[in-house]
């Protein structure tokens, strides 16, 4: 692994890396996994690979909305990032086909909450 030096950390402060423009994040903490996030994650990954979509599917921790797990946050070009709740295999497919491919948000599954992230980026 590459060593992380003081210069490297200084560099991050000076030129913050751009917020990742494209991603599909799946909440993969215990609460998410218990609700079926592992299957959703595997499905999204295989679909993205199969269709050669330029969107990385990445795991993340629990954002607090355990009641709506599995949570999937989608950010693709041209659309603001939104989070889908209670995602199952069927909705995951719709996310790929409607949201990622057709750039049309999926109705009825988006969840949101008033929140302020404290870190200034």
């Amino acid at each position: 692994m590459e060593k992380i030096t003081k210069d490297r950390l200084d560099e991050v402060l000076k030129n913050p890396p751009p917020e990742n423009g494209r991603y599909i994040r799946v909440g993969m903490s215990s609460c998410g996994v218990a609700a079926g996030a592992a299957e959703v994650f595997a499905l999204l990954r295989s679909e993205v690979e199969k269709r050669k979509l330029a969107v990385p599917v990445v795991p993340c921790g629990c954002s607090g909305g355990c009641h709506s797990e599995p949570l999937v946050e989608v950010c693709v070009d041209g659309l603001p990032s939104v989070t889908y709740g209670k995602v199952n295999a069927e909705i995951a497919m719709r996310i790929i086909e409607e949201h990622v491919r057709d750039k049309r948000l999926v109705q009825d599954y988006i969840v949101d909450a008033p929140m302020k992230r404290a870190v200034a980026l």
Partner: protein, 580 residues
């Protein structure tokens, strides 16, 4: 160009859901205005806002409108969507906004990727401490921040560190307490699983401040995923040179290691935890001396909760003043609560200190799932207390919760509605403490057991009015004489329920009734001869064969033999079994 998205949700719980109608109306108006290529109108499942009428959230701007009437849709389309100007009369500014400090990266970073954390300004706090601050200055910074321990007791973190720094010892240690055992609490697990590096960074800062070279993360073995992710985070930190020798090109050295807790609740108590890390049996010892003087292997030790460490890395990164600007006079920053029980949105909420309980439960949690009347909320785990609905306007802080006879605890918050029996709840928590008592000191070992006996007597319908005095007397003794917080806190749920729900105790003792129907021994089942169709279903299903009779005379329940399991009540198709 980014498409504008309008999320629509009818947030009124009563009446028909009008989300679909307004969505159609909105879509039509957008099309009329010729904006259909730039705007998408979407029905949302939940916007985190409740009982505020029709709500629309406009992304990416993040504007929220509430209480939208059909007539307002035009205005929103022409003003906000076409001209990008807000419609000020509709703007929603509720007090239910969460502030994420501890969970700043949870749900964003990949917990198994150190690069993600660094991209979110990770390890800047320790860099700042190492290069720009002396240990004294860093402790001073914490003092300014006003951070207090998030494990429950609220001891000022800077003071703990300062004592450990000034204590004499050839070696010093830092320990992260991840032995989260309160029923219904899982904030620490979430932070360890979602953002392990923030905790590791907090521990590095602590080690630098007190002069420790070795640290342990004590995580309970029931959290396999958290352990796996923390171990991965530690391996990555070693691999990139952030742990080990000469960290970030300075002379600072630190080794961190995971230790597994083997499932004893008492090991969350700091002296018992230290004994457990040493490989001894996990039992507490009297304090003083405090671990900051005589801790792990007899050396000065700082032991803090997961959440505290996650706060530390934030404070060193963003400065004490930023942190101290949030919260109340004496309780700074935010607190993460695990909201569970009869609540619509169970999950984790992080709110600034001083937020009223009602906001947490009703505005963020969305109220009771069943639509029944909310009765109380339990905070602080088995050592905490029950707060009744009339005190829900109390702001959440260490002091205010103590005043109410509860305490902050690690952050479990269990909501109870009318279906819960408070005597039964008190019995549950006490039973938990009795099971988990290590047995070392008599007040906890014997006192807890005796209190449980008295409570069982009451819920069995054999209680006497003087039993309440006995409970109070034993509680007093346990509070005064127990060795650690487990025994001292064990009577709290009983005392607080006796204080706020005296009527329930009276009903159990005098009327021999349980309002919620939870205390089965106080219930009575009877077959109503007039409704009984003699189908014998109850007779067949009774596990103890206490229903006798025949088709001519009808059937009767032998009350002596009945175990009140309620099976007859459930199986009867003619509602001929009465429960009282």
């Amino acid at each position: 160009m980014t498409t504008t998205v309008v999320l629509i949700r009818d947030t009124d719980s009563g009446g028909a859901d009008r989300t679909r109608d307004v969505h159609d109306l909105f879509t039509q108006k957008v099309r009329d205005a010729g904006l259909q290529n730039e705007v998408q109108v979407v029905r949302a499942a939940d916007l985190g806002i409740y009982n505020k009428g029709m709500v629309a959230k406009i992304l990416p701007q993040g504007i929220v409108y509430a209480g939208i009437a059909d007539a307002d849709v035009d205005d929103i389309v022409t003003t906000t969507l076409a001209q990008k100007m807000p419609v000020s009369r509709l703007v929603y500014c509720g007090a239910n906004e969460q502030v994420r400090i501890v969970m700043r990266n949870c749900g964003i970073v990949n917990p198994e990727c150190i690069e993600d954390y660094i991209a979110r300004k990770g390890y800047q706090g320790i860099k700042r401490a190492l290069y720009d601050l002396t240990p004294e200055k860093a402790i001073e910074e914490l003092k300014t921040s006003g951070l207090r321990g998030r494990g429950g007791a609220g001891y000022p973190t800077w003071l703990k560190w300062s004592l450990a720094r000034n204590a004499f010892g050839d070696r010093k240690f830092v320990i992260c307490n991840g032995d989260e055992g309160d029923p219904g609490a899982y904030m620490d697990r979430s932070v360890l699983e979602g953002d392990p590096h923030s905790v590791i960074e907090g521990m590095m800062i602590a080690a630098y401040c007190i002069g420790a070279t070795k640290g342990f993360l004590y995580i309970r073995a029931e959290y396999p995923l958290a352990i796996k992710r923390v171990q991965k985070a530690l391996d990555d930190a070693y691999g990139t040179g952030l742990l080990g020798k000469d960290i970030l090109g300075t002379s600072f050295c630190l080794d961190l290691e995971v230790r597994l807790g083997a499932g004893a609740f008492v090991c969350g108590e700091e002296t018992a935890l230290i004994a457990s890390v040493e490989g001894k049996r996990g039992t507490p010892r009297p304090r003083p001396p405090y671990p900051s003087d005589v801790g792990l292997f007899g050396k000065p030790t700082v032991i803090n909760n997961v959440e505290t460490f996650a706060n530390v890395s934030y404070i060193l990164l963003n400065g004490a003043k930023t942190f101290a600007s949030i919260g109340t006079d004496k309780s700074k920053g935010t607190k993460v609560f695990a909201l569970t029980g009869k609540i619509r949105n169970s999950g984790l909420v992080e709110i600034p200190m001083g937020t009223p309980l009602r906001v947490i439960i009703e505005d963020i949690g969305g109220g009771v799932a069943s639509g029944k009347k909310i009765l109380a909320v339990q905070t602080g785990g088995p050592s905490g207390g029950v707060i009744p609905e009339q005190h829900f306007d109390t702001p959440v802080s260490y002091e205010h919760l103590l005043e109410l006879g509860s305490f902050m605890g690690s952050g479990g918050m269990i909501v109870m509605d009318e279906d819960d029996c408070l005597v039964d709840i008190a019995k549950f928590y006490l039973g938990f403490c009795v099971d988990e008592s290590c047995g070392k000191c008599a007040p906890c070992r014997i006192g807890g057991f005796q209190m449980l006996k008295v409570l069982e007597k009451i819920t069995d319908g054999k209680g006497m009015p003087e039993d309440l005095d006995t409970l109070k007397r034993i509680a007093q003794a346990m509070r005064k004489a127990s060795l650690c917080a487990l025994g001292q806190g064990a009577p709290n749920p009983i005392i607080s329920t006796m204080k706020y729900f005296a009527e329930e105790y009276r009903q159990h003792i005098v009327d021999r009734k349980c309002r919620a129907g939870k205390c089965t021994r106080l219930m009575r089942f009877e077959i109503l001869d007039t409704s009984c169709k003699r189908c014998k279903l109850c007779v067949v299903n009774c596990p103890v064969h206490c229903i006798a009779g025949d088709r001519e005379k009808g059937y009767r329940i032998d009350q002596e033999k009945c175990i009140k399991c309620g099976r007859c009540f459930e199986v009867c198709k003619f509602e001929a079994v009465a429960r009282s």
